[in-house]
Symmetry: C2
Subunit: 280 residues, 2 copies
């Protein structure tokens, strides 16, 4: 396994792979890897001759009051986990090459970010689309794997790739959960032992909404009320609970054949998100 | 010479070139080609094993009151000119593939567009950067050639390429002029015979500013006044006359070692632009 820290070296290697006809897979991450990330690596490994995992904590996608500085980092452990999982290259770009003096280019979407997390995190998705385009340009992948846990991010990236004609297939990989249902996330490391116990309420709320929908409840006000109750009774705080169209993320009044429930909640000071397909 | 009208066919061909190690050059145009465009093709031809010229009149870079519908088009003549000049592929993407239903992605710069033409043409450079990124993704060039006549566009593209780590070298090609100095432009075809005679005032104004600067005039108010006089005495209307830093496009009070003069003028209803390096 090779560690590459400059864009030019990464591009040179990717171009030599492309000349050999090697299919290149990219798994973009912010590091502090867990089994969720590693399942994305497995997905890339199955499909690609060369697997690149990028590690970059991207300041542009954090708001001024968010946790950029506190975000957990452990490069040594990340490299061990990736080596064990059969990664070919770990691409760790440096901040001053990603955002050089005079940097002024943004990639942004005009509609999909105006829902869910995008409404609570001003500029977040602009930061995501900009950095992901830069990672795509550096790694030149044929396939890029993103987790369904960050469902809005997945849709935003899929839309960007389609809109910009990028020659990349975006692959979605299912959310990996702890035994009690909590979606794996680097931010789970912020939780105290009591908060960790409390945090399972997020998935419980989503499961309850799914049971209700499968049981015939179509009024999304009732689903949202039920989710809110479960979260608040556990002692967490709702940031949003929503039932949305899974393509446009527009809120639904009535559950349709295709509908998604999404939650963001504060467990203590830690903001957790999760989502679930309501039917089928 | 091959004509390609779909992104997927273009990408497949570019990828097969890349596998052979062929250097790919792209000349993006809006068609209605003249000797200015063809000199860009010559520049690409000298440097590249495969030369692609794109023709796409991009609605996103025209304002609502601008000349998108009137913009001149002549595909048959363009193809003849390009074949004679040794083009390998003419890429003519279709509107519904470039801007499909639900399109919502924008690429934009936050500083360079806030000068010169960018101030007069709301959203113009957002349209340029977005479409050029799409053309880059479709053609996957190693080198892209742009004319110095659209100087602000050239800077904007160079900045975008650097900021996004695109693995593309942007090559600038000098402005090609008519015998009386008028910069070649597809929009010159709008001019009546009298307007065509009048239009040489734009370059005359720039030349006068250069003579003055080389003669020791450093006060840019005097240079701008002289340029304005020449344009107005010819019967044209100034949209802007400016003396700017050639990297940031910020207006200068005093001429520096590196300074650029830029003009936009209406000759009748036709808006013409041109620019010149003031010193050296």
């Amino acid at each position: 396994m090779k560690v590459i820290r400059t864009v030019s070296e990464m591009q040179a290697l990717s171009r030599s792979w492309a000349r050999q006809g090697t299919v290149i897979g990219l798994v973009p991450t912010m590091g502090f890897l867990h089994e969720g990330h590693l399942s994305l690596v497995d997905t890339a490994r199955e499909r690609c001759g060369a697997v690149v995992v990028s590690i970059f904590v991207n300041p542009m996608q954090f708001g001024p009051k968010e946790d950029f500085n506190a975000y957990p980092r452990n490069e040594k452990q990340d490299l061990e986990l990736l080596e064990a999982r059969g990664t070919d290259v770990v691409f760790i770009p440096q901040l001053d090459e990603m955002y050089p003096k005079g940097f002024e280019t943004r990639v942004e979407l005009t509609r999909l970010p105006n829902h869910l997390c995008g409404l609570r995190r001003e500029g977040h998705f602009r930061g995501v689309t900009t950095v992901v385009l830069k990672l795509f340009a550096a790694v030149l992948p044929n396939i890029a794997v993103f987790g369904e846990k960050d469902y809005q991010q997945l849709l935003v990236i899929q839309r960007m790739v389609r809109d910009l004609n990028l020659p990349i297939e975006v692959v979605a990989a299912p959310t990996v959960r702890e035994p009690d249902g909590l979606a794996m996330s680097s931010r789970n490391s912020y939780l105290s032992p009591e908060e960790r116990t409390m945090a399972s309420c997020v998935f419980q709320a989503l499961q309850r909404a799914r049971q209700m929908a499968n049981g015939g409840v179509v009024d999304t006000i009732m689903l949202r009320r039920a989710m809110t109750e479960i979260i608040e009774q556990a002692g967490a705080q709702v940031d949003y609970v929503a039932v949305v169209d899974p393509d446009t993320l527009e809120e639904l009044l009535l559950v349709k054949e295709r509908a998604h429930a999404a939650v963001a909640a504060f467990v203590g000071r830690t903001r957790l998100i999760d989502n679930i397909r309501l039917k089928g």
